[in-house]
């Protein structure tokens, strides 16, 4: 694939941006992780600044995980689960929705922009939505800037 191997790029320094956001993405195994895979199978291109952690259900995402990520310097955290009524585990995603709403308030109270935490429903068939979400969320985080933990404000 000639288009996949552009030449002359330095190995260590990625293309020209000063701020490289650090984004942690929690994906449930059944819908959003499969959606992320589908984005790959469909070769949908997106910014490379996120790292996915697979959990069986978005409801497994303990609030501690989000806080831990923020504490360790993540500029953004995305939690992705099955669409409402589509949860492989029936209703796990509803609990996630409540938790994330509370966590956003908590983040704000601690002086963080609540938009650093986002919840999205992405189905196994929505590779494109995964791509769009990653493009948009990366942009949002770039606009908000580095986390206070990494020297931002």
């Amino acid at each position: 694939m000639s288009s996949t191997t552009p030449s002359a790029q330095s190995e260590e320094k990625a293309e020209g941006e000063d701020f490289e956001p650090k984004i942690i993405v929690f994906c449930c195994n059944w819908c959003s992780y499969a959606g992320a895979d589908l984005a790959g199978v469909s070769r949908m291109q997106m910014p490379p600044h996120f790292r996915v952690i697979r959990v069986m259900c978005s409801a497994r995402v303990d609030p501690e995980f989000v806080l831990r990520a923020i504490q360790k310097g993540a500029d953004g955290v995305l939690v992705a689960g099955c669409h409402p009524a589509d949860c492989h585990y029936i209703g796990g995603n509803y609990r996630t929705r409540r938790r994330i709403a509370l966590l956003r308030i908590l983040l704000q109270q601690f002086g963080y922009d609540p938009d650093r935490l986002r919840l999205e429903w992405i189905s196994a068939g929505e590779g494109e939505k995964f791509q769009k979400t990653m493009v948009e969320f990366t942009k949002t985080i770039e606009e908000i800037g580095p986390s206070p933990m990494r020297g931002g404000d």
Binding site: M1, T4, P6, S42, Q45, C57, R60, G91
Partner: protein
Amino acid sequence: MAATDKIGAVMVVGGGISGLQSALDLADSGFKVYLVEKQPSIGGAMAQLDKTFPTNDCAMCIMAPKLVATGRHHNIDLITNADIVKVDGQEGNFTVTGKQRALRVDASKCTGCGSCAQKCPIETTDEYNENTKVRKAIFVKYPQAVPLIYSIDPEKCIGCGICAEECKADAVEYDQKEKDFEIKVGSIIVSPGFDEFDARLKAEYGYGVYQNVVSSIEFERILSATGPHFGTVMRPSDGDIPEKIAFIQCVGSRDEKVGNEYCSGVCCMYSIKEAIIAKEHGGNIKPKIFFMDMRAFGKEFEEYYNRAKDEYGIEFVRSRVASVFEDPKTKNLILKYVEKGEPKEEEFGLVVLAVGLRPPEDAEALSKVMNFSLNDDGFCETGAFTPVSTSRPGVFVSGAFSSPKDIPMTVAEASGAAAKAASEIASARDTLVTKKEYPAEIDVSEQEPRIGVFVCHCGINIGGVVKVPSVAEYARSLPNVVYAEENLYTCSQDTQEKIKQMVKEHNLNRVVVASCTPRTHEPLFQNTIKEAGLNAYLFEMANIRDQCSWIHMHEPAAATKKAKDLVRMAVAKSRLLESLENLTINVNQQALVVGGGASGMVAALELAKQGVKVHLVEKEKELGGTLLKLHYLPSGDDPVEYVQSLAKEVASDPNITVYTGKKVKSIDGYVGNFKTTLESGEEMEHGTVIVAVGAQEYKPDGEYLYGKNPGVMTLLEFKDKLKKGEVKGDSYAFIQCVGSREEGHPNCSRVCCTGTMTAAIKVKEKDPDAKVFVLYRDIRTYGFREKYYKEAAEKGVTFIRFEDGTKPQVEDKGGKIEVRVTDEDTGKEVVLTPDNLVLAAGTRPSDGSEELAPMLKVPITKEGFFLEAHMKLRPVDFATEGVYVAGLAHGPKFLDECIGQGLATVSRAMTVLSKTTLEAEGIVAFLDETLCDGCGICVPTCEYKALEIVPDKKDEKKKTLDINVGLCKGCGACVGACPSGALTQMGFSDEQIVAMIDAALEDAAENQEVKQ
């Protein structure tokens, strides 16, 4: 014949995707399988494909797990490079003799390392790559081949002896002789696949004369990352990347001149796929597809076609190309064709001929040896109600050998044939199989983690973007990693051996594979480490392909950095992995079938034949479903008689309990242990569920005067009138695609075109002078159904094509029907005044589907049909274990296809019901009782009612939690809610996930400057 005479083994002839599926189903349900393949390795045609439609899944990626599972299955014997010589005996007890041609390599010694081929001085054309590449005289068919054993091509080998010298395993045996073999089996399945049409026979297209005219399968190889140019689309004459590519459809199909009247059924879709992929490979490639009718009839195919047009900008020209000429200077090709009555010429850089499917070369020989009949076209003969049976009892057929067909239909049939083969010898189940023995598990609990990391190139899928060597090098630097290597394909059979060897050599107690997605490949690698004596849960994967190299194709540096991060995260989790024990679940060996139409009854009867007690629930008062309203089949067989005989058989079968006029109220439980309650109160327990709830004909909402003029009716209503002799008048117009292929219902309903032909032919048979018009967009009489299209035309039916956007206008003129339609061919308006206007109304999901799906926790498509686990390779399974789907519930299809799927669900269900116990997941919730104070916050988070607050046995004043692990699905919702940290999800513990978070942010933490 006495039951003791039955032999509990099956021979499967042909190791393509069909043979693999049959073999795996049978071996997983208590039968010994001999898989006989004429080539040195299995895989068949699918192994040559780059991608598959309509999901663009990489063919090898989805097939490799099945290849490896077949190759390593302890109850499947592979007999490759072999031919069948004689088949004696009868159903239940056959004796097969055959010959295994010499590989000239000792299969027991060859490790598949390939050093022989590197040194072999002889180069010859490579059949796997359709001669677009070269191979050596000692070779394997393809890199992921199973079994991975080299063989010497006797025609090309010059006997120089270099390979024998080079082989460290001493495996080369020049004088190896062919071997005779004899096996005893109870049933036989033939699935030898198909051959491609030889495009030389269409001399006007210049194949074999002009270098830049290639066949579709050659183009498939050109597109492939493992093909001649590693996926770059280069034309053969000069290696230039062609800008304009023409696809010519129906080469060797729908063509009396070459003797193939049938439609090959798959070419329209594969050409769309190849055009899309070509376009994805390079921005400037402009594909143009020349076709007669676009036959995008399968599940979600029409949407794929629409995407090709609208999103990819692929052009479609409705025309049969007359001829192709080469410009000798540029080697470009000039196509001559007629479009809308006007002769045209256009120049292209490359021409791809969509070659049709024909019977395999050895079809006749095979039919003689095995003594079964072929049909007029040379394919295996089957009946309208017996789609997987040959004319010889005990010999079954599946795949493209019985008619051209796509992969999902092939896989369903393969399971269906396995069900029939198993029923024949059900009494001999479990007599010839052995249980898979794994070595004793190494206790790693006291050991310091010793992690091995295997980084996959996946051909160039990963390696073309990510610097795999530097990822492997980086892995070596991580704490507790004692070994790391890179592989061309980590999933291939040779790498599995390598992993086991490295576990042993380096005393590895954790394994990490950085490759594709755990969703498809984790089970394969887990099995490998089990074979090496490690617990399956000591395995972890880093997804550096689907979620890295494929989505950051133009940023190799960033992708490499990300791959290293993902490996570091996986290693961090791996360090904390523990051995887990799989629970044993008891299996209730009864089955529930929901829906008493043809699919459901076929499934129920076949399960009953295999000794399973079946509960068959039908919401109508009478068994039979849609078939009762069909009246006519194109083949002339009587569907009503058939379905009534099925109903009688069902009613008198002692293993089947029928509940008619009843609806399901609730289904609880999990694989092996379902409990169902009907609205009328009956309760039943069962181990599996088959969903066969059917579908219904669309009732147009006033469209085309439906419901407003008595002369307007749907196709099923018309057939009913025709049967009863109530049709009035002598002129008929049929309008196709009513409620299909339009907004809201974008897909094709598959059966209406053929249904229309059947009705039109009936009309003409009764009254040869009747005026019959069919107004259509594409006629989709795929496969052998093409002959009904031809027959209708020969009987004088007039076909008028209208443009996709311009529907016929229908008006009521004083009670008379007037139809106005613009004939696309002539551009002129035609006015018809038929006595009967028949609407070929589409297929809609059954009314109960939306209520049933959530009870079973299975998904439905946006159109409301049940969505299977995988469109290509798991056509009748759901992601939820123990639940299967057949027939119209899955999407529109013909009766033979419904029967095939009905049988397929039996084969899949028997992989569960043939056992008394199953192994469950180990990733369940686990409680640390010392931390639990019985607060009960977790209890309502559990959707499966697996949690209960009980008095603490040790201290009666206190409360604690009780987990029913049989009900636990391992979602972890309770763990996420537990405020005291008492709950853990095995395999996804807090410590493990936190370790991944920390590892992901390691360098963020390094740069950390806390601002106060």
